[in-house]
């Protein structure tokens, strides 16, 4: 068979096609084409926008942030007055979004764990209740659920005079939910210090107990002793310093309640909807995580003489958490993002106060949208970074 020599005429004529058929050339080429297209689109958008802004005499830039917003906000966690700046509105919105999201995340996670474990129960009734809970809540839109809680529950509550009360401390009516506000007195600092000390002491006991077990084999009831220290020490100090904490109770004065801490009906409705809706997804994450650990693991642990409680703690949970944590955390991100549906029932979250009222008044659409996006993205990306770190920590080592 004839061997083709280097630089032969045939090879010359086919060189361009051969070059294009090289897989490395191809991949660089495709990437270059995509990059050029992206840059072209971005440039078009930028030029187009700035031309339009100029044509309508609209200014761009972030100078408006220090301007007076001039409108009031129905309910804020940060102190806010109508004379405050747009930047203050941004911060107020962020805090309002974060507070409802954080409380929803905490309760949704608890509820999700309970429902997920209930659905795995061998008890027919318990598992069916959990299954219906999950299927109904997961398969109806969140907006529908938010409107349900707001319009069909919290708006139909009686007026303040007919409030539902609990122990004369908590009240629920169509103006919102009222709780006593704690007022620390002189010397309450000692109780706070005691709480910190108790946390440190519990940690120290746990470390000591682990060390002792490894050295002598003796086990220690770390959980119960820790619980005792965690509650006992602060309570002792609190009582010894003369119980320096009083409460400002909400009380009906005239047509409305005064004093205490209160949250509006929209907050309650949004919180409940977010919490219950997302707990259904979290329940599925928990269930899937536990199911992902094969039954052989339980059998192996039992055959070694480990009791069910220890098997759960030492074998099942450490493995299930690898599967539970990632979807759980992405559900947390969804809670934060979905809290923006607050706008439907008038809860003043970031989108409602900043992208609605502030945007309409100031006209700085691009800047405002960018700032709001920046907030949601930083929250989500921070959470994903933490998640990636966690995944790396617990990754199973395989070949």
């Amino acid at each position: 068979m004839a061997v083709l020599e280097k630089g032969s005429p045939r090879r010359q004529s086919r060189s361009i096609i051969e070059w294009l058929n090289d897989e490395r050339v191809r991949s660089v080429l495709y990437q270059a084409i995509v990059a050029i297209a992206v840059i072209a689109v971005a440039r078009y958008l930028f030029v187009n926008t700035s031309e339009n802004l100029q044509a309508r005499g609209m200014s761009s830039g972030f100078d408006f942030l220090s301007g007076t917003a001039g409108f009031s906000i129905a309910w804020t966690v940060l102190p806010y007055e109508a004379g405050d700046s747009y930047f203050r509105v941004y911060l107020v919105g962020i805090v309002n979004t974060l507070i409802v999201s954080l409380v929803a995340i905490v309760f949704a996670t608890l509820l999700g764990f309970i429902m997920g474990i209930m659905r795995l129960s061998k008890n027919w009734l318990i598992s069916k209740i959990a299954a219906w809970y999950v299927e109904i809540l997961r398969n109806t839109p969140l907006l529908l659920q938010i409107l349900f809680w707001f319009l069909a529950v919290f708006s139909l509550l009686p007026p303040p005079r007919g409030s539902f009360g609990l122990l004369d401390m908590f009240f629920l009516n169509n103006r919102g939910f009222y709780m006593p506000a704690p007022v620390p007195g002189a010397g309450f600092d000692y109780t706070m210090i005691a709480i910190l000390l108790a946390i440190a002491a519990t940690y120290a006991v746990a470390v000591w107990a682990k060390k002792r077990q490894m050295a002598t084999g003796q086990q220690f009831h770390t959980f119960w002793v820790g619980l005792g220290i965690l509650f006992g020490l602060p309570i002792l100090v609190f009582l010894a310093t003369g119980s320096p904490l009083s409460f400002d109770f909400a009380a009906l004065k005239g047509f409305n309640f005064q004093g205490g801490v209160s949250v509006p009906p929209a907050f309650c409705a949004l919180l409940l909807a977010l919490m219950i809706y997302h707990s259904a997804f979290m329940a599925e994450a928990v269930r899937a995580g536990i199911l992902s650990v094969s039954h052989g693991q339980t059998e192996a642990a039992y055959s070694l003489g480990l009791r069910p409680g220890m098997t759960l703690r030492l074998v099942i949970i450490p493995q299930a958490m690898r599967a539970v944590v990632p979807p759980m955390i992405s559900n947390w991100m969804n809670v934060v993002k979905n809290s923006s549906l607050a706008i439907a029932i008038g809860y003043p979250d970031l989108v409602a106060v900043y992208m609605q009222t502030s945007l309409n008044q100031s006209g700085h659409a691009i800047e405002i949208v960018a700032m709001v996006m920046l907030f949601y993205m930083s929250v989500s990306l921070t959470i994903s970074m933490a998640l990636n770190y966690y995944n790396k920590l617990v990754q199973l080592k395989e070949r």
Binding site: M214, T216, Q219, A300, G305, M310, L396, K397, R399
Partner: protein
């Protein structure tokens, strides 16, 4: 199946049977719904005895040994292990499981723990052994199964044969007096079967009471004091390996042996 090992002429390991009964099953019955998996099983196992249980799949042989450490619950009859009655008393179940080791077909190592931690978990948490001592004991056992150098690795980094040897070491770490093997080599590649069987032969030589569900007839011939053939939930035939292989009594046994030794 393993005709070569069967005919390889290796000598039978000397028996070390005492007259002390360690497992006694009488009239044990078990159903899965309508399916009658164990029918009136009577079985007495003496200390140091090595029993190989064989039979077609679905014959109830795995279920039988899983009843001995309560991974399966029997519905009728009595099971006595090390003098302890197997009933609903959790203390009794704990006591039995502590002294009965088990090796599974699918290894079931704990993938989140290192090889060493797999072997020390139960001694530390069940036997309250100090960590240093548990580590020392585990290393001895890993040497016995010939993989001390893998102690710091995770199960996912080992071959199937190595994993099964770790599983044996993990069971031995609880210092059991009875070992149950549920098809220990069925999930292994052919070249890894012998490394696991070698460890089991070593264990037999040390005088361990063993109940082994397996199709490795070479192993049965070399190690077993008694071979039990099960079919459709019943013990059809039991005998010494010599009699069992050369002179089977029942037609079902003959059929099974002809199928398993055919090629």
């Amino acid at each position: 199946m393993s005709l070569e090992t069967l005919d390889s002429g290796q000598e039978h390991i000397a028996s070390a049977i005492s007259d002390e009964v360690v497992i006694e099953l009488s009239k044990v019955n078990k159903w899965y719904g309508e399916f009658h998996v164990l029918k009136d099983i009577d079985l007495t196992v003496y200390k140091g005895e090595r029993i190989v249980i064989c039979g077609p799949s679905g014959s109830g042989k795995s279920t039988l040994i899983r009843c001995i450490n309560r991974l399966e619950e029997h519905q009728q009859g009595d099971i006595l292990v090390n003098g302890v009655t197997m009933d609903t008393n959790l203390k009794n179940i704990d006591a039995i499981r502590r002294d009965v080791g088990m090796v599974f077909q699918s290894f079931n190592l704990f993938p989140h723990l290192t090889v060493l931690e797999n072997c020390t978990l139960a001694p530390i948490w069940v036997r309250n052994t100090p960590k240093a001592e548990a580590d020392r004991l585990a290393m001895q056992l890993l040497e016995r199964v010939k993989i001390p150098e893998q102690a710091a690795k995770y199960p996912g980094q080992l071959s199937g044969g190595q994993q099964q040897r770790v599983a044996i070491a993990r069971s031995l770490a609880m210092n059991p007096n009875i070992m149950l093997f549920d098809e220990p080599t069925s999930a292994l590649d052919p070249e890894m079967i012998s490394e696991v069987l070698d460890v089991m032969v070593g264990l037999a030589e040390s005088g361990m009471t063993m109940l082994v569900v397996t199709h490795e007839m070479g192993f049965a011939k070399r190690v077993a004091d008694r071979v039990i053939f099960m079919d459709q939930g019943e013990i059809v035939e039991q005998n010494t390996p010599g009699e069992f292989f050369n002179n089977p009594k029942s037609d079902r046994t003959k059929l099974f042996l002809s199928q398993i030794l055919a090629h």
